[in-house]
Amino acid sequence: MRYFDHVATNPLNPEVFNAMLPYFKEEFGNPLSVYGLGQSAKQAIEDARVKVAALVNCKAQEITFTSSGAESNNMAIRGIAMARRKEGNHIIVSRVEHHSVLNSARALEKEDFVVTYLVPDKFGMVSPADIKKAINKDTILISITHASSEIGTIEPIAEIVKTAKEHNVAVHADGVATTGNIPIDVMQLGVDAYSLSAHQFYGPKGAGALYLKRGQRILPLIYGGIQENGRRAGTENVPAIVGMGKAAEMAKAELPTRMAHVKKLRDKLIDGLTKIEKVHLTGHPDNRLPGHASFVVEYIEGEGMLLMLEANDIYSASGSACTSKALKASPILLSMGYSSSVTHGSIVFSLGIDNTEEDIDQVLEHMPKIIKRLREMSPFAKEGWGAIDDLEESKEGNHV
């Protein structure tokens, strides 16, 4: 299997799995229990907290464990917005955010918050100048992804924070795609909140965390007991948290090697695929995740490519309408200025530490054939996109 969908999830590292095992079995105690069995579970969580904190350079007390990156994003946006409600009701996000950010913001709109959705440039980059323009006296929170998993562009978070601080606005960054893949220093970034997810760096699913700068007020999403300092109730998922800690420790130790490995393969993949006619790299050419290569292939559609790649044991992803459950063109690519026709040809290869040079050779061998085959079937390949304009004109009369 040649797996190129690491932004979807990573395989669990065997060492991480081994570290988790005792906490499914003999170490089953509830961390709130006062006897030894509970206390050793509590200790395991606190050890994991130290390791996760080290990965993003913060204090252990600033890490709250959650169930996922999505929960961390929900908690940060809703929790901070609600805690600061009396100070204002305006929130700024971008058009390249994950659904867990966008839908959290949309939900707040129904509760009298006002949300600005910033449009990025053609590389998917959000401009700090646009942030400055969007801030008004009611702005309380800005949430911008550190990198979108669809286009790989790394956003200028430190500069955004600088602007925000001049206006006393809190900044949350969604670091799900970045943590474990590039060095993260939340102190240097200056953010007030930062989301991360364990299965994006070879840890288990069901384990996420939220960095909250000391003193940052937040309301919980889940009310109950005093777990996680009262910020997130519910008996802790001890094995998953232990796994996240182990995965964080390994990611920190191996980060330079991991980055160099995937970057070398990524560059070869980008070089090879962009040599094919009418294949364009999406996202920023340099300022992008080291293991991320995303493209649009003109005149064909993403799902067809994925199915044909799968037939050759190659697994990747697409932001095309056909592959989305909503059957709508990728809002991220549209926001970057791509026409909806072109967005249908989206394909994303996200690399990991297990990928080899041979994997890349296989993709570079099969992709030209697949593209050629699908273009032979496409009504647009010979005449360009003109045919679709004719069709849309003829449809204007009964347009939905």
Binding site: E301, G304, A311, C322, K325, M377, A387, L391, E392, K395
Partner: protein
């Protein structure tokens, strides 16, 4: 997600291509999801003697195009007009519900090709 039969029609699509001297050409598209289908037919004595397609779309859209061109060949124009989205989906051993709407454009494209044939006929 897809049936074996649908995957077969996607992997080995029948009747791909254009007919240079087609008697009728029909194009249908779904502007939201982008799927676009173009069907070419040859007609003799009211019977569809050949049908080919060009399609931009997902696996289901390509399989639908392959299947409908197979179904249309040998049918009279009236018979061909009675091919529905449902009969194409059934012939493919079913389709995911969300794909019925956006990718099952074959019967519409075929109807347009037949209309085009009739329009050309009246011009003659």
């Amino acid at each position: 997600m897809y049936s074996k039969k649908l995957m077969d029609h996607f992997t080995n699509p029948r009747n791909v291509g254009e007919i240079a001297d087609a008697d009728g050409v029909g194009m249908e598209g779904n502007p939201t999801c982008g799927d676009t289908m173009k069907i070419f037919i040859k007609v003799k004595d009211d019977i569809i003697t050949d049908a080919k397609f060009q399609t931009f779309g997902c696996g289901a859209a390509i399989a639908v195009s392959s299947m409908i061109t197979e179904m249309a060949k040998g049918k009279t124009l009236t018979e061909a007009l009675s091919i529905t989205k449902e009969s194409v989906a059934d012939a493919l051993d079913g389709m995911p519900p969300q794909k019925m709407h956006c990718s099952n454009l074959g019967s519409d494209a075929l109807r347009k090709a037949i209309e085009d044939y009739h329009a050309k006929g009246t011009q003659k």
